[in-house]
């Protein structure tokens, strides 16, 4: 970089520097798998089925949506709103300040894996697990569906001229005209896990730990092996390409030569989502916290965080079985819903009545009171038979002793929390 360019970069960085006292973003109650940063807002989507629009400076949740029936897998900003997409195969277009989407595509049979918005804001491209790419024109809400890949579409993006780039599990790099005509088709050296458009080129992350840059024609340009663990998230601002790995490491790189600007440990587990503006990097991980970092140094910018509520556990067999339940359910009292409701005090509660949780119509229509016996029965026959039509994934506990241990643990946890509340500890 020349001296003038370096000086310009410093000025830009100073102008975009993060606000004093900036905070991390606390609101999701499960892995955060989608992030997009806009002018003054951050958008996140998670396993808890929530999409949250945040004020960037204050890290305050401006709007929380539970529109999608399943994980929110991809998000993007529009000039006057935002887009969310989910495991339910739906793409929802939102105006800011509205409680319901302006419009949404019908429920599909394949989850959306990736999402991009054209530079002029006129079209949205979505890549699906079944290999198709949908191009949605916002003006007339028309949809063009292209059978693009023979495997999962792992990344889509718009080039500055409006052409669409997609990569997939079939190890193909494809470029499409704005109306869906195939313009380029090239092979990839490994399994791509995502792409970000940076300076008219596609920055593609791979499961072999490499970040490779490709031209619009699919010719490979610089590559950099960053790790021997899979890279699973990528984002780009004008100044940086950012990528995260499954071991919690994040890199910011210079787009031109892939020189590493910063490398830092952002979490103990996978970094499922990253986003970047000029000065800050945002990361989403399994603990549900969206953290912010200095893009140049990798220093944390989020300040001190309050401790998360302590989860009750003991060394019992029931606690061991509960670990699988804990991904979707809390045992905290009050509205601590994750992908499912809190199970604090579940025994004696009628189905579909936990405070603050948006139940599926199928579950609300059932007439079950949860008791140790009915919960045990649920896991004996499985939710598909016991609560048909609900969103709960099929789970069975085959051993009657394990089912008993599980319900006893839930009862113990509730009693423990209630005793703590009574003594003020």
């Amino acid at each position: 970089m020349g001296r003038r360019a370096a000086l310009s970069a410093l000025i830009v960085a100073a102008c975009l520097s993060s606000p004093v006292g900036a905070q991390d973003f606390l609101g999701h109650s499960g892995p955060v798998g989608a992030l997009a940063v806009g002018q003054d807002m951050l958008l996140s989507g998670g396993f808890d089925t929530r999409a949250i629009l945040w004020s960037l400076d204050e890290a305050r949740a401006l709007y929380v949506s539970r529109f999608h029936d399943g994980t929110v897998t991809a998000v993007a900003h529009l000039d006057d709103g935002f887009v969310t997409a989910g495991q339910d195969g739906r793409i929802a277009v939102w105006d800011r300040g509205q409680a319901a989407p302006r419009f949404a595509t019908p429920r599909g049979t394949s989850p959306v894996a990736s999402l991009a918005v054209a530079g002029d804001g006129s079209r949205i491209a979505a890549g699906f697990f079944d290999g198709t790419v949908q191009v949605l024109a916002l003006a007339d809400q028309s949809i063009v569906t292209v059978p693009a890949h023979s495997d999962r579409v792992t990344g889509v993006g718009f080039l500055p001229d409006g052409q669409i780039v997609s990569v997939g599990g079939d190890l193909r790099f494809l470029r499409w005209s704005p109306d869906g005509e195939l313009r380029a088709n090239a092979g990839l050296p490994g399994l791509p896990n995502g792409l970000a458009i940076s300076q008219n080129r596609a920055a593609i992350i791979f499961a072999d730990g490499a970040l490779r840059v490709f031209s619009a024609d699919g010719a490979q340009l610089p590559e950099r092996f960053l790790t021997d663990r899979p890279l699973v998230s990528v984002g780009a601002s004008g100044a940086h390409i950012v990528t995260g790995a499954i071991d919690g490491t994040v890199w910011t790189l210079a787009p031109k030569d892939l020189g590493i600007t910063a490398m830092f440990r952002a979490a103990d587990g996978p970094i499922w989502a990253v986003a970047a503006d000029g000065a800050q990097v945002f990361t989403g991980s399994a603990d549900g916290i969206v953290r912010r970092w200095d893009a140049l140094t990798g220093d944390p910018l989020g300040g001190e965080r309050p401790d998360a509520p302590e989860e009750y556990t003991d060394a019992s067999r029931g606690a061991e079985i509960w670990r699988a339940c804990a991904v979707c359910h809390s045992l905290q009292p009050g509205d601590h819903s994750r992908a499912g409701p809190s199970l604090h005090g579940v025994f004696g509660r009628r189905i579909g009545t936990a405070e603050g949780f948006d139940y599926s119509p199928a579950l609300q229509a059932l007439n079950i009171v949860w008791t140790p016996e009915t919960v045990a029965e649920l896991f004996e026959v499985g939710p598909e038979a016991y609560t048909p039509g609900s969103r709960m994934p099929e789970q069975r506990v085959a051993d009657p002793a394990d089912r008993q241990a599980l319900v006893e643990f839930i009862a113990r946890a509730t009693a423990h929390m209630d005793a703590q509340a009574a003594t003020g500890n």
């Binding site: 029936d69 994980t71 996978p270 399994a286 991904v327 994934p393």
Partner: protein, 198 residues
């Protein structure tokens, strides 16, 4: 105890898809799921190679490290299996896998119902060996019968090898020395953290 591995000799694969068909037939894999697939790199260009891809049963498997419900486990033969009773179909393992192995039923959204399905190295699941319950969920357990995975057994050019890692690596070494070239044992470095030195 043997350390079971797969080895795909990309210089021998002729993209016949016999491995894919054998797998689907042996395990009655449902429509929409391929536990094994053949991918061609540089199709129609100099340097074209086909590789047969499935779960490689990695050392330090990335799928297991990202699973939120810890449904993966490694057998004494170093085969990476998962428990479908515990799997919640979240899909995270599919992002972590370098080989695109995790598959999901396409008749429903996997987040709401479907369980992940992948290659079992023909060694079933946590249910009792060769039981009906094991077959319904995971397919045949050939390892328990003293046999190796059918995909490799059916490979007409023996591009796909299965067995003890040391033995199949030695077979590959001998091939490369004999024929004088070798484009590498595809995926070994990613899966096992090492290359086959010749």
């Amino acid at each position: 105890m043997a350390r079971m591995k797969f080895l795909c000799d990309a210089d021998r694969c002729i993209e016949c898809n016999a491995c894919v068909t054998a797998c689907k037939n042996e395990h009655e894999v449902p429509w929409g799921i391929n536990r094994r697939r053949v991918v061609t790199i540089n199709d129609g260009l100099p340097g074209e190679r086909s590789v047969s891809m499935a779960c490689m049963h990695c050392t330090d498997a990335p799928c297991a490290s990202v699973c939120p419900v810890d449904c993966f486990y490694t057998t004494d033969d170093a085969v990476v299996l998962h428990n479908k009773d515990t799997c919640i179909g979240c899909g995270y393992c599919s992002y972590a896998c370098p080989f695109g192995a995790p598959q999901y039923p396409q008749t429903a959204n996997f987040g709401t119902r479907g369980k992940m399905d992948k290659c079992t190295y023909c060694s079933g699941g946590p249910e009792p060996d060769m039981s009906q319950a094991e077959y319904v969920k995971y397919g045949a357990n050939r390892l328990a019968e003293g046999k190796l995975p059918l995909c490799a057994e059916m490979c007409s050019t023996k591009a796909l090898l299965a067995g003890d890692g040391d033995i199949i690596a030695e077979i590959y070494r001998e091939r490369v020395v004999t024929r004088g070239y070798g484009s590498g044992a595809w995926g070994w470095r990613d899966a096992y953290g090492e290359t086959v030195t010749v």
